[in-house]
Amino acid sequence: MAFTININGQMHQVDVDGDTPLLWVLRDVLGMTGTKFGCGAALCGACTVHIDGVATRSCITSVDSLDKSVVTTIEAIGATPAGAKIQKAWLDQEVPQCGYCQSGQIMSASALLASNAHPSDSDIDDAMSGNICRCGTYVRIREAIKLASNA
């Protein structure tokens, strides 16, 4: 069945089953590969996008649940004030190693910063503990969020 989705300010029409996870619509149907597949079960956060500004795991978000919601992905997060600050802090602190989880980390961190300009360590733990980094860049993720919050 056909769905119209607002992604990064553009309307896209896709013809898939309603229970298809948004992740695969983004990656495979629309070719927006910045959002990553990690677990398929909302356990790792690699697929995090914003739905109406809220950090959401796209791997368990069915396309028929979106309705008129606005989806923002890593490809466009730099256009938001919080996203731009987070990306810059990520480069300044040289957070990424393999980099695969970092789209999701940045989406979670951007949502945190947009709702909480000066997060504490415990706020960071709460917002970021759903995002696994196998390279273990956690020390720098924490530093980068603090850097961005002071920018």
Binding site: L23, D28, G38, C39, P96, G99, Y100, D125, C135
Partner: protein, 725 residues
């Protein structure tokens, strides 16, 4: 110069390149990664200078460096260019990077003899040849300029991509000299810089690979999208060596978007318009499996076989003095056995490979640590000559040894042979964890003797486990031994007068084993440093002082131990329930000591690692940023293994499935990490894996300090640490 077909652009790599162009523009830098930019038209015009397989300078002055080692997060795409650029006298902003194509002759790692990135040896392998490559190119450019000006080459020098003749203030850019330099013979025995002359080496450099990693444009293997690509996922036999008996695909075929069901001997794949449909189709398949001969296997049986093997003599890996006699005659005798579990790699990018099988050739897209191995294995699976397999390498979403294997490429080819057009085969996380090549299970039996003064005088150790080398690089396994299985077990940093180590290779029935970050030392350092700690306790000595007394012949080891003791506050009081543990290792050519500070909950026995202090002597530090980052990373990786890492089998099936049952350390559990580097001008040692092997025993020893309980089996078992347990 003729280049491998793999360097030629495919439509997908055009996309990659465009992504990187976008990425570098966004970052405002001059550098871009071009994933397979062809060796360009200027070459055809005879204007390009290619003194070796690593450097190309076009007439427009563009310096292109071909990377023989793959980027999987370890920073090699910054540190290797630093070696070349320092000698070539260009700055890092002037260089462009390419992935090397499959070509073992040109791009083999000198320390491995094959084209692979692993064992923390890229820098060790590259240190001499790639600086020489840069130096030779520089010498040729200088010679070309001197000839042009009719002056003595010794009166010219290179700087910032130009050759300068100081007496006349003449200067020419490298691009202007490329055509002339290309006509000169490549010099041999060019001197490289002394440490004092380095401009880039040793100075923190910003990573060249990360701009695309913050905006989604970096291209990993899983992001490849050749035109017309379909998407597949698969179910492989849940038992090792099992077979497909019967498939009912009626419901699967009815799923919207499912195009085709591919049946193999030991797997079934669903091909669809997108992964969502492929996964839904896979869930709708009814597959009956023939479990095969390993259907009844469980982990306890594997451990039993290994334990039994250590009751008999193994192959002697090293012997000094007479350990048997010295243990028997010691004032105090200490014995222990240790278990190390199977571990999965769980790279964040699940296993995947895109393949397009055509009548007379096959094209692959993936991220691999061993491109030539992938090419060879894929060729065999495809029934094609090696040169008919084109492999496009990508950034790796984690390697850790998993991507040294070619199994995913073989699978993709097997499926692609039955599919019209390119197909991207992506493993679900469950398949990824349940069909890994696992870090081996090891069993150790060890005894030692202390004299009346509490000095360690005898050490006798036997261990059994899989040899990954014997499968992966058969010539490396000789007379029952291989250098990986014994690294960290022999040639200890400690002076022990009677010392004996034996190894018995025992392959677990049906279970494939593979290299896992910190490889042999991931096992040996845990056993050695845990047992040394037990001996310190038996001698009623402080663990640091006990180690230090055996380091008289090893000043670099002693220096890192002293440094870590000082920086960690060793010996200062801690709150109740906390403890510090130390470890010391020489592995991958580097010396490292760590102190972990842990807290054990008396209520549930859970272990929190609060802080890890690390002192590292890895010789010359090429990029301090990278070394710091890799030690942080290795420590997190090892902390995950110590606290959670375990793959178990029941009825021939791996019991863990996803990140809920195979847990990875999260940010709220991550320790703070303090890294201290020892200044040195010795050749560089490896560092990418060292933090992992060193932290596991440091944590176990810290748990002992906190609770008085020894952990002789990994991972931490909270049940034995509960109060009253």
């Amino acid at each position: 110069m003729k280049h491998d077909r793999t360097a030629l652009l495919a439509s997908e790599t055009n996309l990659s390149r465009r992504h990187f162009l976008v990425a570098s523009a966004a970052a405002g830098g001059g550098l871009m990664l071009s994933l397979s930019l062809p060796f360009g038209e200027s070459e055809a015009a005879g204007e390009t200078f290619t003194p070796n397989a690593f450097i190309r300078i076009d007439s427009d002055g563009q310096v292109v460096l071909t990377m023989p080692y793959v980027e999987m997060g370890q920073g090699t795409y910054t540190s290797i260019p630093m070696l070349i650029a320092d000698e070539l006298e260009v700055n890092l902003k002037q260089v462009k990077l390419e992935h090397a194509p499959a070509n073992e002759k040109l791009y083999a790692n000198p320390l491995l003899g094959v084209q692979a990135t692993g064992n923390s040896n890229a820098m060790r392998g590259a240190w001499k040849p790639l600086r020489e490559a840069g130096a030779a190119a520089r010498a040729m450019l200088v010679a070309a300029a001197a000839k042009r000006w009719s002056v003595d080459a010794n009166s010219c020098h290179a700087q910032d991509g130009e050759v300068v003749h100081a007496p006349s203030s003449k200067r020419l850019k490298y691009g202007e000299l490329a055509a002339d330099a290309a006509k000169l013979p490549v010099p041999t025995n060019v001197a490289v810089k002394a440490a004092g002359d380095f401009k880039l080496i040793g100075t923190p450099a910003k990573r060249l690979d990360i701009s695309g990693k913050v905006n989604g444009s970096a291209m990993f293997g899983i992001d490849a999208r050749p035109p017309g690509v379909k998407f597949a996922t698969l179910a492989q036999s849940p038992t090792f060596g099992g077979r497909v008996k019967n498939v009912d695909d009626t419901a699967a075929k009815a799923v919207k978007g499912v195009r085709q069901i591919v049946r193999l001997d030991d797997a079934v794949a669903v091909v669809a318009d997108h992964m969502g449909a492929a996964k839904k189709g896979l869930e709708a398949l009814k597959i009956e499996w023939d479990d095969g001969e390993h259907g009844g296997l469980d982990t306890g049986e594997v451990a039993r076989q290994l334990e039994e093997a250590t009751l008999k003599p193994g192959v002697v890996a090293q012997t000094i003095g007479d350990a048997d006699k010295a243990v028997a005659g010691a004032a105090t005798k200490v014995e222990a056995t240790y278990h190390m579990p199977f571990l999965a790699h769980a790279t964040m990018e699940p296993m995947n490979c895109t393949a397009h099988f055509r009548k007379d050739e096959c094209e692959l897209w993936l991220g691999t640590q061993a491109i030539a191995r992938v090419q060879a294995f894929a060729a065999k699976a495809a029934g094609l000559p090696v040169e008919k397999v084109i492999v496009h390498n990508h950034l790796l979403g984690g390697g850790f040894g998993r991507r040294l294997e070619a199994d995913i490429a073989v699978r993709a080819v097997e499926i692609a042979k039955q599919v019209d057009g390119p197909v991207k085969v992506v493993w679900t996380r469950e398949e990824d964890i349940q069909h890994d090549l696992y870090r081996p299970y090891w069993f150790d039996r060890i005894s030692a003797g202390l004299d009346q003064a509490g000095k360690l005088v005898a050490w006798h150790r036997r261990f059994a486990g899989s040899s990954v080398i014997a499968r992966w690089l058969p010539p490396g396994f000789k007379d029952g031994l291989d250098p990986d299985s014994t690294e960290g077990a022999i040639d200890l940093v400690y002076g022990i007068p009677n010392f004996h180590v034996e190894y018995t290779r025992v392959e677990p029935p049906g279970i494939p084993t593979g290299f896992w970050r910190s490889v042999g030392p991931s096992h040996n350092v845990f056993v050695v440093e845990s047992f040394i700690d037990e001996l310190a306790a038996a001698a009623k000595e402080d663990p640091v002082a006990f180690r230090r007394a055996m380091l008289d012949k090893n000043p670099r080891a002693k220096a890192v131990l002293d440094l870590v003791a000082e920086k960690s506050g060793w010996g200062t009081p801690l709150p109740k329930g906390r403890g510090r543990g130390v470890s010391l290792q020489f592995a991958f050519g580097s010396w490292q000591a760590q102190v972990a500070e842990v807290e054990v909950s008396p209520k549930d026995g859970s272990v929190r690692v609060h802080r890890v202090t690390c002192a590292m002597d890895c010789g010359t530090v090429v990029n301090p940023n990278t070394v710091q980052a890799q030690l942080q990373s290795g420590i997190m990786f090892g902390t995950t293994a110590a606290l959670y890492g375990e793959i178990t089998l029941k009825n021939g099936r791996v019991e863990q499935t996803n990140f809920d049952t195979y847990q990875i350390l999260r940010i709220n559990e991550a320790p703070t990490v303090d890294v201290h580097l020892v200044a040195s001008s010795e050749p560089p040692g490896g560092m990418g894996e060292t933090g992992t092997s060193a932290v596991v025993p440091a944590i176990a020893n810290a748990v002992f300090a906190a609770t008085g309980k020894r952990l002789r089996k990994m991972p931490v078992d909270s049940n034995v640490l509960k109060q009253g347990a």
